[in-house]
């Protein structure tokens, strides 16, 4: 399989020149426009033992997100709210550069950026997840499992997390706490990530683009056009004008992605 992989670290200078030359002509290594994301496909309900799940294909990047919901104790300072916790594993099957072992800084940043979007965007109505105030609440575990890494894990994981939440059912009956019910989803925050390549800015960078990008910016916006989270990465910088432009683009792209996430078939596998 996988005949000619144009991977990170391999003849990077040549690749950099090539991608820059394309950019100067307004196009990209896979023919996309600067503000065009890769084909996005979402299969909800993929993992049947999860309370909700979604398999995301963003180009050749594949991420499976599972949601498990269990009973637990609330935090002392938020006795009347359920708990959200997000974890990411860069499984070593997804890339030759991922190693087994506890999550490294990349996995932790990924989990925290996805978590920030979901949490600050109030995707879940945590106040509806109280069983007994101060004593018993529902804990929602979002587990991001990266299967194939071809760039832009932030967005693939963020889409998977939101899709899995919209797919999720609270398993109340398993705990003899009444009937199961759909996890209450309030808002639909969607991240869009951009890479700075030379002086150009492209949406949804693939692995080749990521490997030569100088800076990265993720903006999470919701269905009202509000911004809920941002994360800049890498050692390059952005100008203020670039940031403004990125925020605007993230709203446009985010709106389209949101439709795909919400409109997708439920529980059927391709």
């Amino acid at each position: 399989m996988s005949n000619s992989k144009f991977t990170a670290g391999v003849i990077p200078e040549m690749k950099r020149d090539y991608i820059h030359r394309l950019a100067s002509k307004g196009t990209r290594i896979d023919g996309r426009n600067f503000d065009e994301i890769r084909p996005l496909e979402i299969v909800k309900g993929y993992a049947k033992r999860a309370e909700g799940s979604a398999l995301v294909r963003l180009g050749r990047t594949k991420v499976l997100v599972g949601v498990k919901i269990e009973v637990g104790t609330p935090f002392p300072d938020t006795p009347n709210m359920g708990i959200l916790t997000t974890n990411a594993e860069l499984a070593p099957l997804a890339s030759p550069t991922f190693e087994p072992g506890p999550p490294g800084e990349e996995a932790i940043e990924l989990a925290r950026v996805v978590d920030r979007g979901i949490r600050e965007g109030h995707a879940i109505d945590l106040e509806k997840l109280v069983i007994e105030e101060g004593e018993k609440v529902w804990i929602v575990f979002i587990d991001i499992h990266v299967l194939d890494y071809d760039g832009n894990l932030f967005d693939a994981s963020g889409y998977g997390a939101l899709a899995a939440l919209t797919d999720a059912v609270v398993p109340a009956s398993r705990y003899e706490l009444g009937d199961d019910f759909k996890l209450p989803v309030l808002h639909y925050p969607v991240p869009v990530t951009f890479a700075k390549i030379g002086n150009w800015i492209v949406a949804d960078p693939n692995l080749d683009e990521e490997s030569i990008a100088s800076a990265r910016l993720t903006v999470t916006t919701n269905e009202e056009g509000h911004i809920n989270a941002m994360q800049k990465g890498l050692s390059g910088t952005f100008t203020y004008e670039e940031v403004q432009k990125v925020i605007n683009m993230s709203m446009n792209i985010g709106a389209k992605v949101r439709e795909i996430i919400l409109g997708d078939s439920d529980g059927k596998e391709d």
Binding site: A47, A94, F141, D143, L147, D148
Partner: protein, 241 residues
């Protein structure tokens, strides 16, 4: 094995709770070459199991002190996604996963021509995305396809299969309820051509006759599963080439 219960696992017609006969396999679906980055990969659905396997290598073994001068080392890593089971599994390998990774590594090594690639590692990652019973044998079956997909030279396509005992009857390929409430489980890995046994574990309670009956049953079924492996490889390579 062996949580006591009143659950009947075999009905009056000799059928199992999912309607199978004692020596009948669950439905199995295989696909080769499902991942882009790995050197070889495969996906298997086996009953309620959904498992992905990927192979990287032969590549320089790292860290250096694990290298062997005369052969490749085989490092299989069996892992369950946190959401693959009813009660969320904490990320990271537990003791069961460490043991399974070890016996799977040893079983896979039995078919690989490791002496061809000194100082390298061949890394096999088995990710259980949805678990029913029998994940290790399904995982080995998929790993075998991923190794073939990666072009690793092997003397046979190793096959995983389990048998066991429920309600006093020797049966093939236990599902989750049968595994929970049954009396014995015998996971195996078999070289279908020579019928050699590369992995063999057992837990529960069986007489000599029951145990040997179970082993024979699994060895027969391995031939069937092997044919499916060949079909899956053909689908990939006939389509492509």
């Amino acid at each position: 094995m062996g949580i006591k219960s009143d659950i009947r696992l075999i009905d009056d017609n000799g059928l199992r709770i999912d309607g199978r006969l004692p020596n009948q396999l669950r439905p199995i679906k295989m696909e080769v070459g499902v991942l882009d980055r790995a050197d070889g990969s495969a996906y298997i659905e086996w009953g309620g199991n959904k498992i992905m396997a990927a192979v990287y290598g032969p590549r320089e073994a790292y860290p250096k002190h694990v290298q062997e001068a005369e052969k490749a080392i085989i490092r299989a890593r069996y892992s369950m996604a946190p959401f693959s089971v009813d009660e969320r599994k904490r990320p990271g390998p537990d003791r069961r996963a460490v043991e399974l990774s070890k016996v799977i590594s040893e079983a896979l090594e039995s078919v690989i021509f490791v002496e061809k690639y000194p100082r390298t590692s061949i890394d096999v990652y088995i990710e259980v995305l949805q678990a029913d019973a029998g994940t290790r044998v399904a995982g080995i079956t998929a790993a075998s396809l991923a190794l073939a997909d990666a072009g690793i030279p092997m003397r046979d396509l190793i096959v995983g299969c389990a048998a066991g005992k429920i309600d006093g009857v020797v049966v093939l390929d236990l599902n989750k309820e049968e595994d929970n409430y049954g009396e014995a489980d015998v996971p195996m890995a078999i070289l279908p051509r020579t019928r050699e046994i590369a992995l063999l574990q057992m837990d529960g309670d069986m007489t000599y006759e029951e145990l040997t009956g179970a082993i024979e049953m699994a060895m027969e079924a391995a031939q069937t599963i092997h044919k499916m492996q060949i079909e899956a490889l053909k689908r990939k390579y006939v389509e492509v080439e």
